[in-house]
Amino acid sequence: MLDLVWLLVAIPLVSGLGLLVWGKEADAWGHLVATVASAASFVLGVVAFIELAGRDADDRSVTHVLFTWIEAGPFHVDMAYHYDPLAALFVLLITGVGTLIHVYSIGYMAHDERRRRFFCFLNIFVAAMLTLVLAADYLVIFLGWEGVGLASYLLIGFWQHKPSAAAAAKKAFVVNRVGDLGMALAIMLMFAQLGTTDIASVNASIGSASTSVATAMGLLLLLGACGKSAQVPLQSWLLDAMEGPTPVSALIHAATMVTAGVYLVVRSNGIFDASEAARTAVVVVGLVTLLVGAWIGCAKDDIKKALAGSTMSQIGYMMLAAGLGPAGYAFAIFHLITHGFFKANMFLGAGSVMHAMDDDVDMRHYGALRTSLPITFATFALGYLAIIGFPGFSGFFSKDKIIEAAFGYNVWVGLGTLLGAGVTAFYMTRLMMMTFFGEKRWRDEVHPHESPLVMTIPLMVLGAASLLGGALLAGDWIVDWLEPVVGHTEHHELAIPALAMSAIIVAVVAVGATLAYLTYGRRPVADVAPLDSQVRWPVRAGRHEMYGNEINEALVVRPVQHTTRTLVFLDGRGIDGFVTGLADRLGEASQALRKPQNGLVRSYALGIFAGATLVLVALLAVTLA
């Protein structure tokens, strides 16, 4: 079976491309085929996982070369997959959540005339994402990396007639390209330095290169990871990406694609292990994004954008954990998986709410929806409890471990993560309160109704996963499972016992939740957002996404526009102007030469006579000389 892992990629790819080419005839049943394809991948993934789990711990890795992709001189890239415990977990997450979201989309996109194409893109995304996590070579990762970028581009801009959606798609792609720049350079550096881009070889032999090379490589990879995972400073695209259909936000911009950066860092553990500086950079990026994302999440009234801020923040946690080195890799992946469950759950829940509210996303128009949407409310509540880290829920275990590890690394970093946990509780409680509790604020023409079963079943499954995901940590299973890939070292013993640590975290979370309850649960919420001038600067900054767009605008967009205009002008006037100017000067010179050609025969005769005289004088001079 493990030799057939490539089928995981091939099935959704063939299904996606096939449906795309098939044309209109497939409109009626295309979505079903796509869903089945995704499910088939999931089943295969499960079978492969079982087979892998059945092997000895040392033997849980399969590399299989399909064909040589590129070969020229010393440059050799194989189209090969590498199936190991890390990849196996990702395969399950991607195909599992992916299939659920396919199912959900059947309901969600039921009335969209381009539904078939939507499912094609989803399938292509699944294929690209699986390529990414199964790749055995950095260049193949890059293939999947940009493939998911393309799928993300297509899906964010799925409603192309909306200029905002098209602009958001473009922005996502371009910002990701900036990150890809880093990744491409990192791969080139690998080739120049080590002569190979094979992941295993690179990570095994990076130690023999100098630390500065490893640092450079690590930082370049981090740039790539920042782009894909919406980490500061390349975070600005993620909130705009919420223009896409909600299942897309759930699958791509919450559960899977945006976590690819974390995957990359974990996958490149050899490189990051070799460079302290690169690891520190990862921690700093993670910490900053964690806080910035949480801050934004507190200020947004748009339910999807609030969740997107939360996603940024949670990925910040994962990134931070990955930056902690072997002490954190496993927890980064653990949190990644639990986050995949509960965030997908909540996004789909938000989609269900929007579905009920005629696609209104403003939470100020919600309120008291718990009665109208009981199933959505229940499942959303499971996700909510998981993300704030309510004891016993999956998020509790995963976040707890990261905060502990962070304290083990550095007290200040630990305090940052602790603060983040509190803020998370605050904004999630705010979201819950505004959406499901309080007074009803929706307009008269809106009649909230529970979504059909095809949409609520995935919610229930994911809700259950949010609740039970913590089981992965039972007996340190996930740590052991990943150990062949990322290794493991026990973090430093904390000054206080782990139980006390957990208690402190829970206390902080409770404080955050209570604050939010007091602000939004007890007091009525205005159904029109106060103006920017009426709120204090932290809210203002959060609403403006910490001015990320403004900063990009000032530092990048406008200079590029300006340069472009200048260059276009210079190209016409300068370079082409030089050439046409040369032609004009030649024309003028010939005008000047025209003057002596006055047509008067006597002038010409004078010229001839003068010439004859000259010849005579010259002859004489030569003779005399």
């Binding site: 030469l593 025209r594 050609q597 006055n598 047509g599 008067l600 025969v601 006597r602 005769a605 004078l606 006579f609």
Partner: protein, 97 residues
Amino acid sequence: MTEYLSLSLILFTIGAVGVLVRRNAIVVFMCIELMLNATNLALVAFAHQHGNLDGQIAAFFVMVVAAAEVVVGLAIIVSIYRTRRSASVDDADLLKG
């Protein structure tokens, strides 16, 4: 010998300057004839110097050609005069660039 050649050259030069300064096409033509005659003188003088008649033959041919040239040239002048009402060489500048 030298004196014949000098005379020939002086006449030639006068003819050439005449071509340059006169504007009446007919006079210009006469100046050209003067130049031709001057060369004829030189040719005849050379024949005398070297004691063979080739120079005279050359002069003879020059005369024939001059006759032909005058015929055609004058015909051209007449036809130009007819269309332009002028025999001034400065009035014909169709070659102006």
